[in-house]
C-alpha cells in the first residue's frame, strides 16, 4: 500500500432532524448532481428514483397532539461486519463493493445486470431500479453532469455519497502536490445545498472533522441498528419518539431503552 492510503477513512453523515424542515432541497440537489431521471408521473413512490428520500415520520397521536418529523434517507453505506454490508455480499456479479479506504459502498453501473438482489437485501430501500429508459425532454440533456454517468434502463442505482466529488477533490490535491484533501473540499451535493444546514458530512474517523464529534451527541441514533447493518448515517433528534422510530422494539421492551 502506498503511504497516502494507509489511513482508512470512514465517510459518513450526521443529519440534525431538529433542523431538517423537510423542504426537499437535498433530494433535488442530489437529482441535479447525479443525473437522476424523471418521468411525467412520479407519484408512484415505489418506482420513483430518489437516491435521497425524505420520509415523514408521525407520532401516531390524534389532533392536537399529532406530531411529525422529516427524515432524509440517503444510502447508509452500511459497514456491516468488516464491510459486509447487506447489499454488497449478495451481488452475484461483484457489481457493488465496499471500500475499506473510504467506507463507501460503490457500484459499477455497467457491471450490474439488474437481478435486484441488492434491493431485496437493503432494509432502507436505498436502492432503486431503472424500470424505464432515462429520457430527458429535448434540450434538457444539456443540464447533465459529466462527472456522473447516466444509468441505463435495467440496472440498480443508489446514492454514492457523491463519490465523484471526492475524485475531483483528489485530482485538485494531486495537482497541488497534496496527498490529503480538506474537509470542505469533499462535501456531498445534499450537504452543500441544505438550506437549514441540517446535514454534516465528513470522515467519521477524523477527529478534526465535525461529524466525529456530532455523532457522539447523546441524542444521536442510527436507523435499524439492531439489524447489525452498522450504517454510517447518524441522526440527531431531541424528540424521544423520533429516536424510537429509528428502530423496531418489542412491545414489552421499555420505551426508556433509548433515552
Amino acid at each position: 500500500m502506498n503511504k497516502e492510503h494507509n489511513k482508512a477513512k470512514k465517510f459518513g453523515m450526521v443529519i440534525d432532524l431538529d433542523k431538517c424542515t423537510g423542504c426537499g432541497s437535498c433530494m433535488v440537489a442530489c437529482m441535479a448532481e447525479n443525473n437522476v431521471p424523471f418521468k411525467a408521473d412520479e407519484t408512484n413512490k415505489l418506482d420513483s428514483i430518489t437516491w435521497m428520500r425524505v420520509y415523514k415520520l408521525t407520532n401516531g397521536k390524534s389532533f392536537p397532539d399529532a406530531d411529525f418529523c422529516y427524515l432524509p434517507r440517503p444510502c447508509m453505506h452500511c459497514e456491516g461486519e468488516h464491510g459486509h454490508s447487506p447489499c454488497v455480499s449478495v451481488c452475484p456479479a461483484t457489481a457493488t463493493d465496499y471500500s475499506h479506504e473510504t467506507g463507501i459502498v460503490s457500484q459499477i453501473y455497467t457491471r450490474c445486470f439488474g437481478c435486484r438482489y441488492c434491493m431485496a437485501a437493503c432494509p432502507y430501500h436505498a436502492r432503486y431500479f431503472n424500470w424505464w429508459d432515462p429520457v430527458w425532454p429535448e434540450g434538457m440533456e444539456k443540464s447533465l453532469n459529466p462527472n456522473v454517468s447516466v444509468r441505463m434502463r435495467g440496472i440498480v442505482e443508489k446514492c454514492s455519497f457523491c463519490y465523484h466529488r471526492y475524485q475531483l477533490a483528489k485530482e485538485k490535491a494531486y495537482y497541488e502536490d497534496r496527498r490529503e484533501i480538506e474537509e470542505q473540499e469533499y462535501q456531498t451535493a445534499c450537504t452543500q445545498a441544505c438550506p437549514a444546514g441540517a446535514i454534516t458530512f465528513g470522515d467519521l474517523n477524523n477527529p478534526e472533522h465535525a461529524v466525529h464529534e456530532l455523532k457522539k451527541n447523546p441524542n444521536a441514533f442510527r436507523l435499524l441498528e439492531r439489524l447489525g447493518t452498522n450504517p454510517k448515517v447518524y441522526y440527531i433528534s431531541s424528540r424521544e419518539w423520533v429516536r424510537l422510530a429509528g428502530d423496531n422494539y418489542l412491545r414489552q421492551e421499555g420505551k426508556s431503552e433509548k433515552n
Binding site: D16, D18, K19, T21, G22, C23, G24, S25, M27, V28, A29, M31, A32, E33, N35, F38, A40, D41, E42, T43, N44, K45, S48, T50, V54, K56, T58, S62, F63, P64, A66, D67, F68, C69, T110, D133, P134, W136, P137, E138, G139, M140, K142, S143, L144, N145, P146, S149, V150, R151, M152, R153, G154, A189, Q192, A193, C194, P195, A196, G197
Partner: protein, 731 residues
C-alpha cells in the same frame, strides 16, 4: 426427397467442424462481450459531454427571495445551480426551486420564439413570427388605441413593482398615457399599508429574526417559503441551536408548526383577534414597553378599545383558544428580551387581512421592538432608480390623469399602490366595452394565481389585445394574442432589489450565465423597442440604446461592484413614529353559508410546490408526496373526526366532490391528524392547465375554488379560505 446418407453425413460433419472452428475463433466470445458492451452504451442513453468547468455567480429570480447563485458550467452548458457562498441572503444554501432552475432554463415549457395567436383565445394555437413583426404588431395596436384617445385603457401587470424592468414598463405606460400599471400583490403590500397607517411613512418591513429570542408567528410559513426562504431556513436552524422558542398559530400543523416549540391551532381567520387578545393581557398587566408606547399617537384610545373588546375570556369562543393559553402566551412574549411577532399566511404570496396585519404589528409596537435588534426594521423603499420624469404629451397627460381601473389610490383605498385583485371584477362589471383594451403581462401569471380563476379568465376574454412577455407557456401566455418571450433566469441581466423581510435588504444583479438558448429578447429591450416604435415623446422617454445601457446608467457607481459581487446593501432603516389604531379595519370571514358548507377550506403552501408565476419543475413535482398528489389526482387533508354528514364517510384515498361557493372539483381525501376538524387543507400550486406534461393536468388549482375577498381597509385581496362541503362523487 431422400437425402442420401453421404450428403447427410457431409453436411453434419461440416456443421460440427464449423461449430468447433467458430468456438475456437474469437467470433462468439467477442460478439457476446461486445453485445453486453452495447447495452452499456446504448445510443439512446445520454452521455454528457466533458470539458472545462467554470463557475458563474448570479442571482435567482425565481422567487422574491433574491438568493445568490453559483452556477457550475461545463464548456457552455450550465449543469448545476448551487448557492453562492458568502452571499448575505443565503450564504451557500439554496432552496429546492432554485436547485432545479436549469429545468426551467432548458425545459420544454419555454417559449422559443415570438408567437402570434392563430386559434381561439386560450386554445394555445400560435404561429411563429419574427421579432420585427411581433413588435410592429404590438406597437401598431397600441398606437391605434392611443390615436383613438383610449390610452388609459392600456394596463400592465408586472410580477413585481421593484427593479428596472417593472419600472421601464411603468414608464412606458406613463409616457404612453395610462395610469394602470399594476403589480402582483403580496404580503409586502399589506405590510406597506400597515406601515403607512401605523407609522405614517412609505416603507418596507424587515424582520431581524436572527436576533429575536421569541418568535410568535400568526400563520406565517416560516419554513414553507415565507419571506426569503433560504434565509428563513437558516434562521430556523439558528433558533434550534439557541433553543429559541417559536410559537406557531395555525389551524393546520404545517412544517413550521411541527418545528415550533408550541403549536396553537386557532380557528382559521381568528388570528387577528387572538393577537389583540394578547395585546389585551399585555396592556392590562402593564407588560408592554411603556417608554416606547406611552404618549404615542392613538395609544390611549387603542388601550381602551382593546380593554373593552378583547379580554381573553371573551375571545375564547372566536379563537377556540383557552384564556390561560392567551395569558401565558402574552406573558412569555412580553417577558422575552427581543420578541417578534410575524404575520402573512403561508408564503405570504397573497396580501391578507389588514386588521390582522395591524393587530400583529401592534404587538411588535407594544413589545417595543420597532427598529431594535431582533425586532421589526422599518426600511425605506429602494431609491436607486432615479430617472428623470418622462415628458408627457397631451394624450399622455390626459390619459395618466384618468382614474385607475383598479381603484388604487382612490379615496376608498388611498394607501394602495395597485389592486390587481379588483381588476377582473372591474372588467366584468363594466358596461359596454372592456375598460381594458390592451394588457401587457410581464413575469406574472394572473390567469393562474388570482383568486376565482374562472372569473379572471372571463375578464381576460373581454380584453381585445393581450401581450405576454413570458419566458414560459403559462396559463396567461396561453391566453395572450402575442407572446414576446423574455430571456429566462440565468440568461438575462437584471437588477434584483430584494426586500422580502430581510433586515438588511440587498440589491442583487442577476448576471447571464449562458447565452440565450432560443430566439428570445430581454423584456427591457422589448419595452425600449416598443417605445421607439411608438415614437415621439414616448421614444424620447427611453433614450437608452439598450436595456444593458439603461441598467448601467441607472446603477451608476454600483455597476462595477454588482458585477463583481452580484450584490450591494440597500438603504438602512429609518425612523418610524408609532401610531396606534382602533377600529379601522374589519376581520375577513370565509365566504359561504355555514349550514350549507360545514367545512372551511384553506389553501396551504409547500416549499415543494411553486405556486406563483413560476410553475413547478419536474424535479420539484417528483418530491411531492403521494399524500398530496397521486397520479393526476389531488388529495386534500381532512381530520378523520370532521363532521361531514351521514351520507359521506371519510376514508383515506376516497374520491369526493369538494364544493365551494365558487366551484367544485373532484379530489381525494387524505386523512390527517395534523389538521383541525372541520378544516380542509388544499395544496396551492397544482392544477396547471398550461406548461408541459410534467406539470399540466395534475390536481386542481385552489384559486378556482376561492373567490377574492376585498379587504375593507386596504382594498387588497384578503382571502384566506372559503366555506366548503364534501359530497359523494355522483356517478
Amino acid at each position: 426427397m431422400k437425402v442420401s446418407r453421404r450428403t447427410f453425413l457431409s453436411i453434419g460433419s461440416f456443421i460440427v467442424g464449423g461449430a468447433a472452428g467458430t468456438a475456437l475463433s474469437p467470433l462468439p466470445w467477442k460478439l457476446t462481450d461486445d453485445l453486453s458492451i452495447w447495452t452499456q452504451n446504448w445510443p439512446w442513453t445520454p452521455k454528457p459531454e466533458r470539458g472545462d468547468v467554470s463557475y458563474v455567480n448570479s442571482v435567482c429570480t425565481l422567487c422574491p427571495g433574491g438568493c445568490g447563485l453559483s452556477v457550475r458550467k461545463v464548456n457552455d452548458r450550465a449543469v448545476k445551480i448551487e448557492g453562492m457562498k458568502g452571499h448575505p441572503v443565503n450564504d451557500g444554501g439554496i432552496c429546492i426551486l432554485g436547485l432545479s432552475g436549469l429545468q426551467l432554463l432548458y425545459g420544454p415549457t419555454r417559449v422559443k420564439t415570438p408567437l402570434k395567436r392563430v386559434g381561439e383565445r386560450g386554445q394555445g394555437k400560435f404561429k411563429k413570427i419574427s421579432w420585427d413583426e411581433a413588435l410592429a404588431e404590438a406597437a401598431e395596436k397600441l398606437g391605434a388605441l392611443r390615436a383613438e384617445g383610449k390610452s388609459h385603457t392600456v394596463a400592465c401587470i408586472s410580477g413585481s413593482a421593484g427593479g428596472t424592468v417593472p419600472q421601464l414598463l411603468k414608464r412606458l405606460l406613463t409616457a404612453y398615457g395610462s395610469p394602470n400599471f399594476m403589480s402582483v400583490p403580496t404580503m409586502q403590500d399589506a405590510y406597506a399599508v400597515t406601515l403607512k397607517q401605523m407609522h405614517g411613512i412609505d416603507a418596507c418591513p424587515g424582520f431581524d429574526v436572527e436576533n429575536a429570542d421569541f418568535v410568535l408567528s400568526f400563520g406565517s410559513g416560516i419554513i414553507e417559503g415565507w419571506g426569503s426562504p433560504v434565509r428563513m431556513f437558516k434562521a430556523n436552524s439558528a433558533w434550534q441551536d439557541k433553543k429559541i422558542k417559536v410559537v406557531q398559530i395555525e389551524s393546520n400543523k404545517s412544517n413550521t408548526a411541527a418545528k415550533a416549540a408550541k403549536w396553537i391551532p386557532a380557528r382559521p381567520g381568528s388570528e387577528g383577534v387572538l393577537a389583540l387578545g394578547i395585546a389585551h393581557v399585555m396592556l392590562r398587566d402593564g407588560l408592554y414597553k411603556k417608554e416606547a408606547c406611552d404618549g404615542a399617537a392613538g395609544f390611549e384610545d387603542f388601550k381602551k378599545w382593546v380593554a373593552d373588546n378583547y379580554a381573553p375570556e371573551n375571545i375564547a369562543a372566536a379563537t377556540g383558544i383557552q384564556k390561560e393559553t392567551v395569558e401565558s402566551l402574552a406573558k412569555e412574549f412580553a417577558a422575552a428580551a427581543s420578541p417578534i411577532a410575524l404575520c402573512g399566511r403561508g408564503q405570504g404570496r397573497t396580501p391578507g387581512s389588514q386588521y390582522e396585519f395591524m393587530a400583529v404589528h401592534a404587538l411588535n409596537m407594544l413589545a417595543g421592538n420597532i427598529n431594535k435588534a431582533g425586532g421589526v426594521q422599518i426600511i425605506p423603499e429602494p431609491k436607486y432608480i432615479a430617472w428623470t420624469e418622462p415628458e408627457l404629451d397631451e394624450i399622455a397627460q390626459k390619459g395618466t390623469a384618468s382614474p385607475r381601473i383598479d381603484g388604487a389610490g382612490s379615496e376608498t383605498y388611498p394607501h394602495a399602490k395597485s389592486l390587481l385583485n379588483r381588476l377582473p371584477q372591474a372588467i366584468l362589471t363594466a358596461e359596454g366595452a372592456s375598460p381594458v383594451q390592451a394588457l401587457l403581462i410581464s413575469e406574472a401569471n394572473p390567469c393562474y394565481t388570482l383568486s376565482d380563476t374562472q372569473a379572471v379568465k372571463k375578464a381576460f376574454a373581454k380584453i381585445p389585445f393581450v401581450v405576454s412577455f413570458s419566458s414560459y407557456m403559462d396559463e396567461s401566455a396561453q391566453n395572450a394574442d402575442i407572446i414576446l418571450p423574455n430571456h429566462a433566469c440565468l440568461e438575462r441581466l437584471e437588477d434584483v432589489p430584494t426586500f422580502a423581510g430581510l433586515s438588511k435588504p440587498v440589491i442583487g444583479l442577476s448576471k447571464p450565465v449562458i447565452k440565450p438558448q432560443f430566439d428570445t429578447k430581454h423584456t427591457g429591450d422589448a419595452v425600449i423597442a416598443l417605445a421607439k416604435a411608438l415614437g415621439d415623446k414616448i421614444a424620447a422617454a427611453f433614450p437608452w440604446e439598450s436595456y444593458e445601457a439603461c441598467l448601467k446608467e441607472t446603477l451608476g457607481d454600483k455597476w462595477e461592484i454588482l458585477n463583481e459581487k452580484c450584490f450591494v446593501a440597500a438603504e438602512e432603516n429609518i425612523e418610524a413614529p408609532l401610531q396606534f389604531f382602533t377600529q379601522e379595519c374589519k376581520t375577513v370571514s370565509a365566504e359561504g353559508d355555514e349550514k350549507q358548507y360545514p367545512f372551511v377550506l384553506m389553501p396551504y403552501d409547500s416549499i415543494r410546490l411553486a405556486n406563483g408565476f413560476i410553475g413547478n419543475t419536474p424535479f420539484l413535482t417528483k418530491t411531492v408526496p403521494d399524500t398530496v398528489l397521486k397520479k393526476n389526482e389531488m388529495l386534500v387533508a381532512v381530520n378523520p373526526k370532521s363532521a361531514c354528514g351521514d351520507s359521506l364517510s371519510l376514508k383515506e384515498g376516497r374520491s369526493v366532490m369538494l364544493t365551494t361557493p365558487k366551484g367544485s372539483a373532484k379530489v381525494r381525501v387524505h386523512l390527517s391528524e395534523e389538521i383541525m376538524p372541520g378544516v380542509i387543507a388544499v395544496p396551492r400550486g397544482l392544477g396547471h392547465t398550461a406548461y408541459d406534461k410534467y406539470l399540466a393536468g395534475k390536481g386542481v388549482n385552489c384559486n378556482e375554488l376561492i373567490g377574492p375577498a376585498e379587504d375593507a381597509g386596504s382594498g387588497l385581496d384578503a382571502v384566506w379560505g372559503i366555506r366548503a362541503k364534501l359530497s359523494n362523487v355522483s356517478i
